[in-house]
Symmetry: C2
Subunit: 571 residues, 2 copies
């Protein structure tokens, strides 16, 4: 009896300590641009924020996209009380169909446009369970669960309905800004400083800060400036105007349509994703246009050139997108004319430089003028650069800042900004995907706890079935190609029954290189002919021998290292 | 007798007409950045300018590089009287070992540094014939052949010894600027305007103008500005400084070494190409440093951190280059320290963004500060932007301008600049690789004559043996991988002798997908089992059937399209 109370007390104490710890963990977005997904955990309650995809890169050839790894959340899916979506971009919502069931189909808190974009996405997945939405707007304050309350506020980004939120927790107020920039008026003065001042008055424990542009000097450009510059280009154009941008830049789409209306040009939209997004904005009343202002591409022939503006997808040189089809003369209704003006109103995604250049060359040969973002800054980023971030930190004055949504290099730049804004160096928390932090009322400490965040890749119908070994093979095949050598051998006497078959792809054109073919066959016979009879020719050891020796032969003769695949058939 | 004189006269007239035509043709560099090579032809004399490589891009995976297609010159190699090299960059000289014999090993006119760099390159090709050099310098005027004389003049670029030249021909004076920019003093005023004024006084027929930066607004930045900015970074650093840049930016290397000397830091050079180039500059007296100023990396441990500057290759994230080795802890003598400052003083080559980002992330975790060209403009381009080009055209006042050394888009931008400089639109000549122009005393006309300029690709030991089909296979293998299906069939009864072998690479990991393996085997037996007995199973028709049906099966099951390679073995 004497030990029990003590034991009990210590358990209680431990509990009470535990109860005062909020855990935070980023599942994605902290070592890349994309697959944004983080969560907060307090006792048996979890709040997840965003569920985005990452687009494939050089290292992941052939992959459709990468989604957050939810290994940690799956056994705890009953604990997931809410999924907050900050805005409707792919890198924040598009992984949802793949993970919503894994995290227990929780209530989704989202603004109207975000909700509409998620619903559009889910049309492609008819077999998934119905989503449970709670629409939220600027100023809404809702209890998410026993321990968590969220208050939402508008932030500036390049899509309407971007929301930040204050997560009120037992250890203090956490503020997540989603993707954001500081909007400014035409003179460059920030708009909405009051939001930040109010946060300061509330006393903020930690802010989670979009660091995408933390390494860019200066402040955000006013959207008015962009509009002005676009208007100048529009007014110069004597024939048709064709503008290409990302379908996801909904603010920009609206701007371009409004300028066209103002300058008396009808708008035709070319590209399904763009049409969908504009329709969604119209449905929600976020885009108001006169009746007849938007026309079908089929109706363009009846309109004078200087009354036409065509908005199109394909500005990244994607093979089947709208602009590429027009440029290649493959579009059903639109051909370029020598009097056209084409405006690329979007930055080039790294890796697409060459295809964009080829596309612009192709178009430049057919039209009067091609403008890209180098000529005029017709692309203002949706992410806060250095001066914006500094301003926010100086106004909000949080105790801690967690640079988020970017590579380490950019997050480190954000940490440096925090120091410049007067915060102690140790209060800028740099943590990687999969690391956990313990947040107490007064502290923010990265611990040794972690969860796997290996890439989960979506490729065709498969989710997670493409592994590193497959990607390594793809990269190798892309560089050097491969050679399959097939030996058909008699089980009785070990002799070759027929001349070895040799197939190559992506190596050199072997049909035209008989000498090399002969050398491979001779080598193969040599290797297999010298085997002691007790060796089984299909054994891995023999295959390795063939692979190495044929590989060496090919390297000596060509200085290339194709993948060699030996097939030995005993009959 | 009556016809003969007339015939003779018409022949003479024709000849005299022909004699007044100078032909010009670009073999490379007019639809890409790289493989620069153009030639002038007058009667039986040909002058070739530059012989550069183009680096491989997305569309040419695994290729080492691309060289100019010299099909037109090969049968005329006796006519090639001279090869002029404008400067020593790879995209102007590195194809030389592959084409020098094909164009008849003519006399090479080059400045001392250019010659030294070519000789360095040829050390890797010991079996080639000896090169015949004629060293040229600013102001030299030489007769190249009966009809051609060349006068050389200094131009500004980012490598010493860049030369432009006036080619005096029977139809007029052609001026080729090579790669160039307008050097400026610290106040931004152009240096060397007199060169351009003198050209005007001579009366120039046509200029061939580097358009690489024709789409960039503004004027070149003074190198002094760059030096000042670098000095600021150097003075801020409290520990060691590590600078990475291209080994080919010889001016920048010299600048960095001079600043280090001035600020009392010893210089260690890490990377063979950089060491070679610095040694070459020292040998020629183009770089003067105090004895003991350059030390070996092995000696660094005896020097205080704030007296060290390490210059290294690897700024593009190349796997085996100097900086990558240091960052990965694989370097024999150098490890990063938390007090280091690392400066990336080179722009990112398109396509390398992700590997550079990964490298910078990796380094940012180990050192105090990482600067890249986004932070400070520590990279000034070697190519003239818009205002420079305009200035040159306004001062030189040529009759014609041929925008050169860039994509169509950029060359079109240069043509527009020519109009702004007061030239008639039709006097800016836009021509593509392989097109010929007839140049007369008063005209410049692109004709229908052309020569092939298909990519000649160097891959390992092979030159020109990698063809489009090989590249297409590599691209496909990289995206979807491949599946080899092997059926071993009895010649007697058409039955399967053994279970079909299936090998895949870069598809999905088939070992873990038994169901799919079984489905492929069943399908294969089904296809081949139903063949009429008179069909030969190794026939192409059967292989196509297998390829299509297995391909369809895989697509239905996985929504992927790997390359299917059927092997049917009859025994």
């Amino acid at each position: 009896m004497i030990n029990k109370p003590i034991f009990k007390k210590s358990l209680e104490m431990r509990r009470s300590l535990e109860q005062n710890i909020l855990k935070f963990c980023p599942l994605g977005g902290f070592e890349e641009v994309g697959r944004n997904c983080v969560f907060f955990e307090y006792q048996d309650e979890i709040i997840v924020v965003d569920a985005g995809i990452q687009f494939p890169e050089e290292e992941t050839p052939g992959i459709d996209f990468i989604i957050p790894n939810t290994t940690y959340l799956e056994p705890k899916k009953r604990d997931v009380k809410a999924l907050i979506l900050t805005h409707g971009h792919y890198d924040h919502i598009h992984a949802l169909p793949y993970i919503i069931e894994k995290i227990g189909n929780p209530i989704i808190y989202a603004a109207p446009l975000t909700k509409a974009l998620v619903e559009k996405r889910f049309e492609e997945f008819p077999n998934l369970p119905k989503l449970k939405f709670q629409i939220v707007r600027n100023g809404d304050k809702l209890r998410l669960s026993e321990y968590f309350t969220a208050e939402f506020f508008d932030i500036g980004h390049n899509i309407p309905d971007g929301l930040g939120f204050i997560l009120d927790t037992p250890v203090g107020k956490m503020v997540h800004f989603g993707d954001f920039r500081v909007n400014r008026d035409i003179k460059g003065n920030p708009i909405g400083e009051n939001t930040f001042r109010r946060l300061n008055e509330m006393g903020i424990h930690s802010v989670f800060l979009d660091s995408t542009n933390a390494d860019i000097e200066g402040a955000s450009k006013s959207e008015e400036t962009v509009i002005k510059e676009l208007e100048i280009l529009f007014k110069k154009a004597e024939g048709r105007i064709v503008v290409t941008t990302f379908a996801s830049l909904l603010d920009r789409l609206a701007t371009i349509i409004e300028i066209s209306e103002k300058l008396g040009r009808k708008v035709a939209i070319n590209g399904r994703s763009m049409k969908d997004n504009i329709q969604i904005m119209k449905n929600l009343g976020y885009l108001k246009v006169k009746k007849g202002q938007i026309v079908n591409v089929e109706e363009l022939h009846g309109i004078k050139d200087d009354k036409i503006m065509i908005l199109t997808t394909g500005g990244q040189g994607e093979p089947n997108a709208g602009l590429t089809k027009i440029a290649n003369g493959e579009h059903k209704h639109i051909r370029f004319k020598p009097t056209d003006t084409v405006i690329f109103s979007s930055s080039v995604v790294p890796g697409n430089e060459r295809s964009v250049q080829t596309l612009q060359d192709n178009i430049a040969r057919q039209v009067n003028e091609v403008y890209n973002s180098k000529f005029l800054d017709i692309h203002a980023s949706g992410h806060a650069p250095k001066e914006d971030l500094k301003l926010v930190l100086e106004l909000v004055k949080p105790k801690f800042v967690v640079p988020a949504n970017a590579y380490y290099f950019k997050r480190k730049a954000c940490a440096k900004i925090a120091r410049e804004a007067g915060m102690p160096a140790e209060n800028a928390i740099l943590m990687d995907n999969g690391q956990f932090a313990d947040i107490s009322k007064t502290g923010f400490k990265v611990t040794s706890q972690s969860t796997p965040t290996d890439y989960v890749m979506v490729d065709g119908l498969g989710v997670g079935d493409v592994q590193e070994v497959v990607l390594r093979d793809r990269r190798m095949l892309a560089q050097e190609g491969m050679v399959v050598v097939i030996a058909t051998i008699s089980r009785e006497n070990g002799r070759f029954i027929k001349n070895p078959d040799i197939i190559s792809r992506g190596f050199i054109y072997l049909k035209e290189n008989k000498e090399l073919l002969d050398a491979i066959r001779t080598k193969l016979k040599h290797i297999l002919g010298r085997l002691p009879r007790h060796q089984h020719p299909e054994a891995d050891y023999i295959k390795t021998l063939v692979r190495d020796q044929i590989g060496q032969l090919l390297y000596t003769k060509t200085k290339r290292r194709p993948m060699v695949l030996p097939v030995i058939i005993e009959v």
